[in-house]
Structures are given as structure tokens and as C-alpha cells.
Symmetry: C2
């Protein structure tokens, strides 16, 4: 059905992009911690950022930059220190980071966007950054996406990457993306980051609109623990290097591009949800029958975020009562006699009343979704404020067998999806046992 | 400072009330499961109910009853079956329950209010109810509050009860209350219930207003897991048996009464939060400096409900970053350079920036708040859908040493409090390991 195909290459799959990731000494662990994505030419830039009142310096920096100028050449990301709650010194550090990179690249600092992830309240280790930047620029390559994806993660168990290709006006157009995020595993640790590259030519206003809509249907529709980070950032570049005609208003071609952008964002968002702290499975909640899409998404997010629903899934318990209760408190009016709940192929509730169903088979359905994902021993690996768990035994993430909860609340045409994960002992272990 | 004193007697402390609690055979465990509170004369009645779209039959029943008539004689509560998602049969069961009791008491069914707690999707065991009601009425006594308090709980570890006395026009006036609630421990298990009795004479409209305001400052300011039940009910009776002059508008006497009503509700609300699933301590979040009280309460509730903050408290980790992040996402605008965070006596953040503090001492502060509260082995005790944990080794709840988180976000005059508990392994254990 999809009007595109998956390709390799991540953010360097689209034409005219290079990337790099190195160990600059920002993380105590010695794992990669500094990433750079660069467009060979000035690219249209759009961004979506945390709505928190407590924001990192890099978030304020990018917001101001994108208000003044809707194009960019580079995205610099450090992992290890969040540069949030660092006051005016944090602002100066962000500014200096951009200037250091600009000098090395011989471009204007105005063309650089910034992102940080790590411990809140800690300044970027500027000495390490200063010596790291020349090395980082030297490493830039057209196959550097994986290195960049590996340098933006903190306690993630896997890197998250995707690239898709379609055709516009018979010419290939590509969108690539990398992301990080798995909750807030460490004390003060936070942040969902995603960087998207595209080689189509799109007008700034339209590109921002497309990105905002895609974010609502992807990153804004996942929940691991309901906690919004101080550093959440989604930045997307479109550099026109596919040499396709400029897209300046909505059209069939624009819709095709936006659909692919949404698919890239959804893939990365699902990968983050699946990598949620302690998660053993991916959960997809599909809601239909509301007045509009927003209401459907709101119900879907409430169900996906319910601690009780999440605990039941971890317990492999087909517990429709908790799903019904979460739907009921989502703030969206509906008649409870219209409520219908399906878990996979099992119809559990119809017309607001419970049905007989094969409980053992429904429980088995939940079990099969929980693949043998490694559980990191956080206590052993998180010593000395090390921001990275042991990822030596990580397998490939499976995103193709989520637990599917399908809820209908009426006859409206609204539909919406949300993604989350189950709630296991390891969530508490990860978040409690690392005491300072 | 308080203008009242604590007395014994719970809901039967005020004049003109009797209560009873018996084992009618509704719970598989054989523990008490049917409670009745009765006023000797018709009492002004007010109620606050779940805002969920998925509501139990008893909630709809009480809402309709109180709209039609603002007085009542009796509150009947069954534990074991929630009578939610039970369709039209559930409505008939609720109606029949009221009629059975009315016949036994020889009063109109219109004078009876209903509450249920237990498994969602299960009808009340009507046979047990029918044979139980005469026995229940026979047990009514002026010292029956404890029996009633014991018959409304399900998986609670302790019963919750309070009574306060003040003077209005030089005559003693009393308010008593009992409550149940500890989260949704069992599959499909839910519900916060509270019943309050008062012997002052208050006009119906004013009594409802007082109760709604008190609910906002108490039950609506606690959070265990963010999940609203289908059956949440707070019902308050005022029967005038203190023989004090009728209160029909706000006055110094009315304010005194409302303050005591609020204190009763806050005590019961804190007792529920402290008894949260797997909780090891009570957490009180105090917020100041907002534009209005509503905004302060919103920030306080967001912090108290944050899984990350709750996990950190369980880990005895003075993690101000998570508190700051939760405050930031509460939806209330503030300048982050005005943010101040105190944990007990430890000032952690000032002017939006972290301070040096004695981390070991702050962790010790968190440790001392965790009293040696019994942890029930849920796996062992919850067999055969038994709705009651083993409460044989329960100690008295301590509500006097909460973990206090004090947050200031500016210079506004708004203040607000919220109460919650920490998030422990046992929360997940309780909610996941009971698989059906």
C-alpha cells in the first residue's frame, strides 16, 4: 500500500548529506557522545520542541534561530550533559558550541542548530567539545549516519534509524531519520531527539507545517512514562538536492512527501516506545468512532499511558476493564454503551458489556508479542554516573508484532493511534535503584 | 491552629447516625462486604462522583437521585462487584438494591444512596444481597462506624476513618468520615469511596458547594497511579441533629464548618494516598507563587503523579531534576529562572539553578519517611479472585511524616497541595503478577 520503499543509509540516504559520530569524552563511559549532520547546501529547516516550561539552552537557541532564519547547514548534538537548568552560562556554552563548529566548517554560526541530551543541571564539558569538534568534522562522510545515530543515544538499548524513498515527478526523493530516547533512565536523564533529512525542495512554511503534523501523528503519540523532557527536539532539513520541482503548497506530490515524512517519524517514534525503560513489548492502541482525529488520539494516548493497562500487559492479562476505565477518563465524551474493545483478534467488550472470550488464548497473544529482548542489569552497569547501559548483547528491535488494542467509541469518523510499552519491574528498578 | 479537635467514632460520631458492616457473601474471601450508614432523620445530601465516561450503575443512580432530591436517609455500599459495564441489568440491580433496603427500613427508596466497589463487569451477587440486608439493618448501631469502614474496603491495607468536633454558636458540631481506596490492585478493581456525616444544619445548595470545594482540595488532589475509577464516589450527609441554627449562606460559622469538612476530606484523602499500591511513604507536594490556586494545584498534582519522581523517592534519591521536569510540563506557564525546589529542609534549586546540598542527608530524609509498613504478598493472598489482601499484620498508618516537596515558581499568591506516594516494585508486582 505504501507509496515508498525502505532503503539503507539513515540520515545520509538523501542526497547531499554527510554525518559523523565520535567519542569526544563527554560521557564518563567513553562511548560515542558527539554527532554531526550536515547538508552540503543550505537546507530548509523546521523544528518541533519540548512544550515544557523548563527548557534546555539548546532548545531556546534553536527556537530563536528558526524564528530568525528558516534554513540551516548543520545539526550538532552532544550526549552526556543536557545543558538544562544551567542558567546564563548554559546559554553562553550553547552559543560557543555553534561558533566553534561554524569556524571549523567555515560557515556562519547562524546556519547551525544544536541539541543536547544527558544529565539536567550539568554544563556541557566544553574542553572535551573544543577538542572534539575538529575530529568530528574530519570524520564526516556520506555513510556516517550509523555513527551519528550511535553518538546521540544515552541509555537506549538500540540505535534508531530509518530511510525511505519515493518518486516525485519521476525522480527519486528520500527522507532519512535517526532518533534517541528510552525514557529517563538515569537520574536527571531525559530526552527524545530525532533528526530527519530530506532531499526534496519544499518551502519553509510548508515544511514546518508538514513536520508539525507528522510530529502529532508520531512522537506526540507515544508515551513511555508520561514525563516530558526539558530537551525534546525534532529537527528536519530539506535541501532540494533531489532536483525535483519546489513544493510550495499542498498538492498530490506534497501529500506523498508528507505521508513519507510521517512514516519516517512514526518508525522512529515506535522504535523509541519499544525501547522504553524495562519494556518487553510494543503496544499500539487504535481508536475509532470519535468526532475527530484529535479526540481519537487523546483516548489512544490515555490508554497507552495508563500504568494499570501497562502493568496488565506485562502480566499478560487480557484486562479489558482497565482499558475501558482508561478510555473513560480520557476527557472525550462518549456513550459507554457504544464502547467496543478488541485485543488482537479477541473481541472483549461490545456495546459496553463484556463478552465471553478464550482467556488463555488472549493471554498467549500477549505473551508472543514479548520477544526475548535483553534486560540490562542497570545496577551493574550504571556505576559512576555512566550514561550508557551495556549494549553488548542487543538484538535487533522487532517493531512488526505489537500488542494491538483496538477501541471503538461510536460512529464518528475520527481515528487515531498511539504507541507505548508495558510496565515491568525493570522500569522501577532502572528508575529507583540508581541512587546517588 | 485548627479550630477543632479530633474525636473517636467515625461516621457515627455526629449526632443522629448509625452504621453497620457485615459479611453478606459478596466477596469470595468471606471478609465483610456490605455496609450501611443511616441518619435517624432526613439529611441534606451532597455528592461528588467520577468524571469518567465509563460509570458504574450506582454512580448514575446517585447522580439522578441527587438531582431530583437533595436529601437522603441512608447510604448502602457493597464491596466485591463494581456493577460497572453491566448494562441495563446493572441498572435494575441498583434499583432493586435500593428497594430491598427501603422495604426493610420502611422508608421510600428515594431516600437511599448507593455505592459499589469491586470487579468491573461483574453484577452484584443479588442473592447474597437479598439475604444480607435484613441482617445488615439488624446490626445498625451508634458505634457501627468501624464495622462499616471495614466492609467497604477491598484490597486496602488499612481502614480509613476520622471524626472532628468544633462549636458553632456555642454548640458542638461534628463531622465524621470513612473511606476506601488504594489504587486498582486487582484486575478490573478500582474505586475511591468516601462517606461523610455531619450533624450541622446546612442548606442543600451550600452543602454541595462546600463539598465540591473540599473535594478539590482533598480527593481531587491525590494521585496513586493516575487512573480514575468508574465508581469513585464521595457522599456527604448533614442532618441538623446538632440543633445549631441552619447555615444557608457563607458566614464565619459556615467557613468554620467548611474548614472542618475540608480537614475531614484531606485526612481521608491522605490515608488513601499513603495506602497506595506498594507505597512505602506519603508524599506531600506544596506549590506556591502561581497566579491562582488552581494553577498551583495543577503543578502539585503533576509532580505527585510523575512516575519518575515517585521512583526516585522509592530509591531515596533527592532528584530535583525530575521534580523540575515535572513542574515544567504541568501546563502552567512560569519563568524557569524563578523555579525553587525544597525537599524537606534541603534547598535543592534556586533561581532555576542547582545548589550544593548534603546529598547523603537529603537521602536520609527520604529514608526516614518510609516507615516499616507491611508489604502484603499479593501472589499468595490473591488467589481465587479474593478481593482482600491479608491484613493480619497491619500497623497503624502514619500520616504525620510525609516526604515534603516544596516548589515555588514565582511571586504570585496562588498556593496548592497534592498528595501521593512512591512507586515501588510492589506496585508492578501487585498489578502484573495477578494474571487471570
Amino acid at each position: 500500500m505504501a507509496d515508498w520503499q525502505e532503503i539503507t543509509g539513515g540520515v545520509t540516504a538523501p542526497k547531499g548529506y554527510r554525518a559523523a559520530g565520535i567519542t569526544a569524552g563527554l560521557k564518563p563511559s567513553g562511548l560515542p557522545d558527539l554527532a554531526l549532520i550536515i547538508s552540503d547546501v543550505e537546507a530548509i529547516a523546521a523544528g518541533v520542541f519540548t512544550t515544557s516550561q523548563v527548557k534546555a539552552a539548546c532548545v531556546d537557541y534553536c527556537r530563536q534561530r528558526l524564528q530568525a532564519k528558516t534554513s540551516a547547514r548543520a545539526i550538532l548534538c552532544n550526549a552526556g550533559q543536557a545543558n538544562a537548568a544551567t542558567g546564563s552560562q548554559g546559554v553562553r556554552d550553547a552559543q560557543e558550541s555553534a561558533e566553534l563548529l561554524a569556524k571549523e566548517l567555515n560557515i556562519s554560526p547562524e546556519l547551525i542548530l544544536l541539541a543536547s541530551t544527558g544529565v539536567i543541571g550539568q554544563r556541557i564539558k566544553m574542553d572535551a567539545l573544543r577538542s572534539g569538534i575538529p575530529k568530528l568534522v574530519a570524520e564526516l562522510s556520506e555513510t556516517g549516519s550509523d555513527a551519528a545515530a550511535g553518538a546521540i543515544i544515552t541509555t537506549d538499548l538500540v540505535t534508531k534509524s530509518i530511510a525511505l524513498e519515493t518518486t516525485l515527478h519521476d525522480r527519486p526523493v528520500r527522507i532519512g531519520g535517526i532518533a534517541k530516547g528510552s525514557g529517563m533512565i538515569h537520574p536527571n536523564m531525559a530526552t527524545m531527539l530525532a533528526f530527519v533529512t530530506c532531499d526534496a525542495a519544499v518551502s519553509p512554511h510548508l515544511w514546518q507545517q508538514m513536520l508539525s503534523r507528522a510530529a502529532d501523528k508520531s512522537f506526540n503519540s507515544i508515551t513511555v512514562d508520561g514525563d516530558t523532557s526539558t530537551n525534546d527536539s525534532l529537527i528536519a532539513l530539506a535541501n532540494g538536492q533531489s532536483r525535483t520541482p519546489a513544493i510550495t503548497e499542498m498538492s498530490a506530490e506534497a501529500e506523498k512527501l508528507e505521508a513519507m515524512l510521517t512514516a519516517v517519524c512514526q518508525h522512529l517514534a515506535k522504535a523509541i516506545a519499544r525501547d522504553g525503560e524495562g519494556a518487553t513489548c510494543l503496544v499500539e492502541v487504535q481508536v475509532t468512532g470519535t468526532h475527530d482525529d484529535l479526540a481519537a488520539r487523546q483516548i489512544a494516548k490515555t490508554i497507552a499511558g495508563s500504568s494499570l493497562v501497562k502493568s496488565a500487559i506485562f502480566g499478560r492479562d487480557p484486562n479489558w476493564g482497565r482499558i475501558a476505565a482508561a478510555a473513560g477518563r480520557a476527557g472525550v465524551p462518549f456513550e459507554q454503551e457504544n464502547l467496543q474493545i478488541k485485543l488482537g483478534d479477541f473481541l472483549l467488550l461490545k456495546n459496553g458489556q463484556p463478552l465471553q472470550f478464550d482467556r488463555a488464548a488472549a493471554s498467549a497473544y500477549l505473551k508472543q508479542a514479548a520477544t526475548d529482548y535483553p534486560v540490562v542489569d542497570v545496577v551493574a552497569t550504571n556505576n559512576s554516573n555512566d550514561l550508557s547501559g551495556d549494549r553488548s548483547n542487543i538484538k535487533t528491535q522487532r517493531l512488526d508484532n505489537p500488542v494491538i488494542i483496538a477501541v471503538s467509541v461510536g460512529n464518528g469518523h475520527g481515528t487515531g493511534k498511539a504507541w507505548g510499552c508495558d510496565l515491568s519491574y525493570d522500569y522501577v528498578k532502572i528508575n529507583a535503584e540508581y541512587t546517588t
